[in-house]
Structures are given as structure tokens and as C-alpha cells.
């Protein structure tokens, strides 16, 4: 095993980890704010990426505007789902499993709609920073992957600042910790729940747009991302969106190092064994306790 191989594995692990983290953060933001396990988080990524692709190639928008459009599409779909389905079901005191079934159903319907309207073909987006690569001791990383890592870290820090420094963020956190208490201080709890879905949609879409230049997007990418994002979120502590960032990076690195350390045939066995050990030692997730205090 050479140093350059280890470095290449680290590059791949961090890049994948950030993608898992973005999907996982959205998932846990929604769970934190509404107690809904969102099985369609990966679909937000597909919606964001597909909208960007369509705005760029069909509508001829400039790339930056198309990216913004894709992110807004994710946020709007998030808001729509809360207003049209979750709010109504919450009024009827639906159970957690009903919400899970709702989001599984939505995931399948959205995937089918994308197949219907956009078709089965995969699409790529132009890489940020061009086709260039950075070569460190024979290990290669795309400029785009560096952008992805930078934006991912930026989004994580921004999310932390949002929850701790802004009135809306603090209100969302209050509503999630004690809904009745928050309502008595004048916080509109229902609206805060809509905001958590907007946030979840936005983070998911951002992850999807950023990953598309590397892996491409098609109608069936969503489920794959949801599963990895869910693992990241649980690993980090489901109630703490920042935990998902740590969980995502851990998952990405463990997967990638398992390939060079053991064998690609046993990648998932090794990766998930490590995750099981972490969950036994830290049943609340890596940052789960911090999440209880408010992240």
C-alpha cells in the first residue's frame, strides 16, 4: 500500500463523506424539527440536480442562476410537502410510522414522475472550477471535488450559525425541543415546521447539485443517497444536523479506507461492522448528546 493510494482513498472518502453529510444534515434537520423520518431526502437531491440540468440545458439559464433555481426548487418542494401532507396529517395526530410511509410513498412517486417527465437518461453538470485536477503525490482530486468539500463545510458552519445565531433558527430549535412551551412564547410552531422542510429540501438539493458533476443524476439516484444519508444521520445522532456532518465523513472515510486496507469485496462488511461498533459504544450517535442540548 503506497502513500499515494492512501491519499487517493482519503480524497475519495472526504468527497463522498461530504455528499452523505449534506443529505444526512437535511434528513436530521427535518427529523429534529418535525419528528418525521424523511425517506425521500435523496429525492430532494434529484429534484435539485434535475432542475439545475433542465434550467441550464433547456431554458439556457447561466450556470449560477440554474444552481440557485435548483436549490430553490428543492426548498419549494420541501415546503409543499409540509403544507400539503405533513401539516394535514399532524392535525389528525398521525403516528411516526404513518409519516414514514408517507415519505416512502412520496419518494417512489417523485422518482416515477422524474422518469415520466424527464426520461431515463443520466445527466451531468459542468464541474465548478473546470475540468482541472489537483495532483498530490500521484493522487488526483478534481477541482470540482475541492469546491464540493469547501461548500459542504461552508454549509455545515452556516447551518450551525443559523441554529445558534438567528431568531428563526433559535425559534425552530425551541419548537422542536418543546412545542407547547415555544407556542406560549409566541413562536408559530406550525410555521417553524414548514421551515424545517424548506431547510431539508434546500440542503438535499444542494447535495444533489454538487454531486452531479462527479456521478451524474438520473431518476433512480434518490434511494441510494437516502440510505447513505440516513446512515450518516443516525451515526452522527439523528437529532443533531451537525452530527450528520461528522457521521457522513466517518462513513465516507471508513468505506474508502476499507477498500485499500482489506479488499473491495468486503468493503460494505468492513464499513458497516465499524458503524455497528460505533453505535454500540455511542448509542445516541457520535454527537447525539449535543443534539439533545440543541446541537
Amino acid at each position: 500500500m503506497t502513500l499515494s493510494l492512501v491519499l487517493q482513498a482519503l480524497f475519495a472518502g472526504v468527497t463522498n463523506g461530504i455528499v452523505y453529510a449534506l443529505v444526512g444534515m437535511g434528513l436530521s434537520a427535518i427529523f429534529k424539527g418535525s419528528r418525521v423520518i424523511n425517506a425521500m431526502q435523496g429525492e430532494f437531491a434529484v429534484i435539485g440536480a434535475m432542475t439545475t440540468v433542465l434550467l441550464l440545458t433547456k431554458a439556457g439559464w447561466p450556470y449560477a442562476a440554474a444552481i440557485a433555481g435548483g436549490a430553490v426548487a428543492g426548498a419549494l418542494v420541501g415546503a409543499f410537502i409540509e403544507v400539503a401532507f405533513v401539516r394535514y396529517m399532524a392535525k389528525k395526530s398521525a403516528s411516526e410510522d404513518s409519516f414514514l410511509l408517507l415519505t416512502i410513498g412520496l419518494a417512489l412517486s417523485l422518482s416515477a414522475s422524474i422518469l415520466y417527465f424527464v426520461g431515463r437518461d443520466g445527466h451531468l453538470l459542468p464541474p465548478l472550477g473546470g475540468e482541472g485536477v489537483l495532483i498530490v503525490m500521484d493522487a488526483v482530486i478534481q477541482f470540482h471535488a475541492l469546491w464540493l468539500i469547501a461548500i459542504g463545510i461552508g454549509a455545515t458552519l452556516a447551518l450551525r450559525a443559523f441554529y445558534h445565531r438567528t431568531t428563526i433558527g433559535l425559534s425552530m430549535m425551541a419548537a422542536s425541543i418543546d412545542a407547547d412551551g415555544a407556542a406560549t412564547t409566541g413562536i408559530n410552531v406550525a410555521r417553524m415546521r414548514t421551515f424545517t422542510f424548506v431547510l431539508g429540501g434546500l440542503l438535499g438539493a444542494l447535495g444533489g447539485i454538487l454531486v452531479t458533476p462527479l456521478i451524474g443524476v438520473d431518476y433512480q439516484l434518490g434511494l441510494n443517497l437516502t440510505l447513505k444519508g440516513f446512515a450518516a444521520a443516525v451515526l452522527g445522532g439523528l437529532t443533531n444536523p451537525l452530527g450528520a456532518a461528522v457521521g457522513g465523513l466517518t462513513l465516507g472515510l471508513v468505506e474508502s479506507l476499507a477498500i485499500i486496507g482489506i479488499s473491495s469485496s468486503y468493503k460494505d462488511v468492513v464499513a458497516f461492522s465499524v458503524l455497528i461498533v460505533i453505535m454500540i459504544l455511542m448509542p445516541q450517535g457520535i454527537l447525539g448528546r449535543a443534539g439533545r442540548r440543541g446541537g
Binding site: Q8, F11, N16, V118, V133, Q142, I215, G216
Partner: protein
């Protein structure tokens, strides 16, 4: 047009609808054919099962196109001794259980004379149980799979056995004098080809210096590709049904020649490769951009009808329909399954390959039927390299 395609696909699950659809397209399409022959009387019914939806749709959709085109062609040329042929196409949703129930319906409900398909090996094995027991001739759009298929002597295959695919890869490696090979393969199709490749490699004096696996549907295989790169091979084999490993190999700047198995030859994957779809060599059969002389008529007709370029799976289905039509013409439209089976067991020159269904593997494709194409800027070009028998 995408929208219409999907509409069509949706209708496929309703068998009566597809029968009408096939009938309608046959009528509309007649004008595309020069010389018309009259067909009359009770149609000769042939059942077909493809994976038009689900994971195998990348195969099933082209196959359905090939079948419907063949149906038009056969009827335009006089059908089966003057009677029209009717191919009833069903979708198994890439699921062997569904394939089995569709096969039962086609055989016992619709009383078809023979069965074409399915698209996937697992479904082929499942359906083979019914056709074998009831002596119904079957022509599958798969390469011969598990050992049980060798006992099914009336189940022909129009795609090469995986051993032949592995041989074709090694022949090209030998041609470019690559002695050290790195392999990237997926855990499904790739595993099966790999099992055949390993023992053959020794025979070719080829050393497999790195063999790296990834799961089906993996979104990133960079680390596996890096391990292959670190082993410093002379060439890299990619055996998969996805575009991901091709992109990763280019991303980490593997400069060695890449040779890919036929599984990733469809345009769906090539388009998803983006700029990575360059300089990849694929041992396959039909290069629509530059067809062999005996493939030209089919490619032209396909282009006129569908406004796109056909590849291997379209041609395989076209061949399967023509093979059963030829057997019916030889044995008679009302021949029993056993008679049809006997009529089928002969050499046949198809668009995809030269078959010999009397061969032990019920396929009989010689290695000389392979052409070796190279992707240049996302388009296929045919290389002059061929393997002599």
C-alpha cells in the same frame, strides 16, 4: 418524444393493449417496407417477455423495439406461410416472479407457439422451467447461465455465453500485447464474467494484477480504480452495467487502454459517461454508425422507424423473432413444440452473429462474430481488429 416512449411503456403491462398497439404499428409501418406480401388467416401467436421497466429496462426497451420491428418485417415478407405473425409483448418489470406468471399466461392463456425472452438471466432460468416442462421452444435474450440451462435443450440463446465475452476481452488484450491486466467489475454481471475470466487468463498468458469489485448501482468507485492504477497494469478491463467506473477511471487519470465488456455498450451508459466516453474499446456485435454489410438493411430500417441508431440488444431481439419465424416456416405454422425445436436446431446467419443452435450451449456464436468498437467523442467507430475462428 421521451414522453411518448414512457406512455407506451406504461401500456405494456396491459397485454390486450399491447396487442392492439403492435397491430396498429404493424399497419402503420407497412408503408415503410418496399415489397408487400399479403398475409391472411388466423395469426400465428408468439409470446415475448422483456424487462421494459425496472433495473433491466436498459435492455428490455431496445429489445421490445427490435421485436416490433421484426414483426412488421416478417409480415411484410409473407408471414408464416401466408399467415400473419403476432408477437405479444409482456413486461416482467425485471422480476423473475413476474416473468414466470407472464409466461404461464402466454403459454396457457394466450396459447402461444413459442416464447421469446426474457431480458435477464434470473428471469430466463425461471421461465425456462415452464417452457422446458411443456416443450415450448424459447429463445432468450441472455447468454447461457447456470448449469441447469444446459439440460434445457429447447432453450436457445441469442447472446454469447459469458465465457465468450471473457475470451473476447482477452483476445483484444493479446492484440495490444497487454500482459498485466487490472479489472474493475460490479457484483452482478461483472462477477459472472469474472468467474470465466480468471481460468482463461492463464491460458492467454495474462496476469490479473488487480481485481477490484464494487456493488451494483455504486455511485463512486474511485478508490477501487486507484487500486487498479497502483498495480500499474498494461490495460484495464471494466465489466459493469453502469457509467460510474468509466468516469472514475478517467477522473484519476488512468492512461492505459480501457477495454469494456458488452454490458456497458448501450447509448444510455455511453451518454452518462460524458467526456469519459473516449478511447474505450468494446468487443460487441453491432456498430450502428458503421454496420457490417449483412447488418446494413436492419440498421437502415431501424433508423427509419425509430429515428435512432440500434445496438446489440435491438439486433438480438430482431434475430430471435426471425429465427422462430424461420423455424415455423420450415416446420409448419401448426407444428408441435418438439417439431419446432428440431427445426430450430440449425445454423442461422443473424444480424447480431452467426448462430448454431445445434451447438452444445444452444447458442453456437463463434468468436469471429465479434467486432471491436472504439468510442470516439461519445460515438462508436468500428476498429479493423477481428478474431479469426
Amino acid at each position: 418524444m421521451k414522453f411518448n416512449e414512457w406512455e407506451e411503456r406504461k401500456k405494456m403491462s396491459v397485454s390486450s393493449f399491447i396487442a392492439k398497439l403492435a397491430g396498429a404499428t404493424a399497419l402503420v409501418g407497412l408503408s415503410a417496407f418496399g415489397v408487400q406480401a399479403q398475409t391472411s388467416g388466423e395469426p400465428v401467436k408468439i409470446g415475448a417477455i422483456v424487462s421494459a421497466t425496472g433495473a433491466g429496462a436498459g435492455l428490455g426497451v431496445p429489445e421490445r423495439n427490435g421485436l416490433l420491428l421484426a414483426e412488421k418485417d416478417i409480415n411484410a415478407k409473407g408471414g408464416i406461410k401466408g399467415r400473419p405473425i403476432k408477437i405479444i409483448v409482456e413486461d416482467d418489470a425485471s422480476n423473475p416472479d413476474t416473468a414466470l406468471s407472464k409466461a404461464n399466461d402466454l403459454i396457457f392463456g394466450q396459447k402461444v407457439q413459442a416464447l421469446l425472452g426474457p431480458s435477464l438471466t434470473a428471469s430466463t432460468v425461471a421461465v425456462g422451467g415452464v417452457t422446458h416442462a411443456n416443450k415450448i421452444p424459447q429463445i432468450a435474450f441472455t447468454g447461457i447461465g447456470p448449469a441447469v440451462e444446459r439440460e434445457r435443450k429447447c432453450l436457445a440463446h441469442v447472446l454469447p455465453p459469458q465465457r465468450l465475452n471473457a475470451t473476447a476481452l482477452l483476445e483484444y488484450a493479446k492484440n495490444i500485447k497487454a500482459a498485466k491486466i487490472g479489472v474493475l467489475h460490479d457484483a452482478g454481471y461483472g462477477n459472472v464474467v469474472m468467474a470465466e475470466l480468471k481460468p482463461l487468463a492463464d491460458k492467454y498468458g495474462v496476469k490479473l494484477v488487480a481485481v477490484e469489485k464494487f456493488e451494483i448501482g455504486a455511485t463512486d468507485t474511485t478508490t477501487q480504480a486507484a487500486k487498479v492504477k497502483a498495480a500499474q497494469p498494461d490495460a484495464v478491463f471494466i465489466i459493469a452495467t453502469s457509467a460510474t467506473p468509466f468516469r472514475n477511471v478517467k477522473q484519476i487519470q488512468i492512461a492505459q487502454p480501457v477495454i469494456a465488456a458488452i454490458g456497458s455498450s448501450s447509448y444510455e451508459y455511453v451518454n452518462a459517461m460524458g467526456p469519459a466516453a473516449d478511447n474505450i474499446v468494446i468487443p460487441e456485435f453491432v456498430v450502428g454508425e458503421d454496420p457490417l454489410p449483412h447488418q446494413k438493411a436492419f440498421v437502415e430500417l431501424y433508423r427509419q422507424t425509430y429515428n435512432s441508431t440500434p445496438k446489440n440488444y435491438e439486433a438480438a431481439a430482431w434475430d430471435a423473432a426471425h429465427i422462430i419465424a424461420a423455424a415455423l416456416n420450415k416446420a409448419g405454422a401448426d407444428a408441435t413444440g418438439e417439431k419446432l425445436c428440431e427445426a430450430m436446431k440449425a445454423p442461422y446467419t443473424g444480424v447480431l452473429a452467426n448462430y448454431d443452435f445445434s451447438a452444445d450451449d444452444m447458442t453456437g456464436i463463434p468468436i469471429s462474430s465479434f467486432v471491436f468498437s472504439k468510442l470516439v467523442g461519445g460515438k462508436y467507430t468500428r476498429t479493423p481488429f477481428r478474431v479469426a475462428q
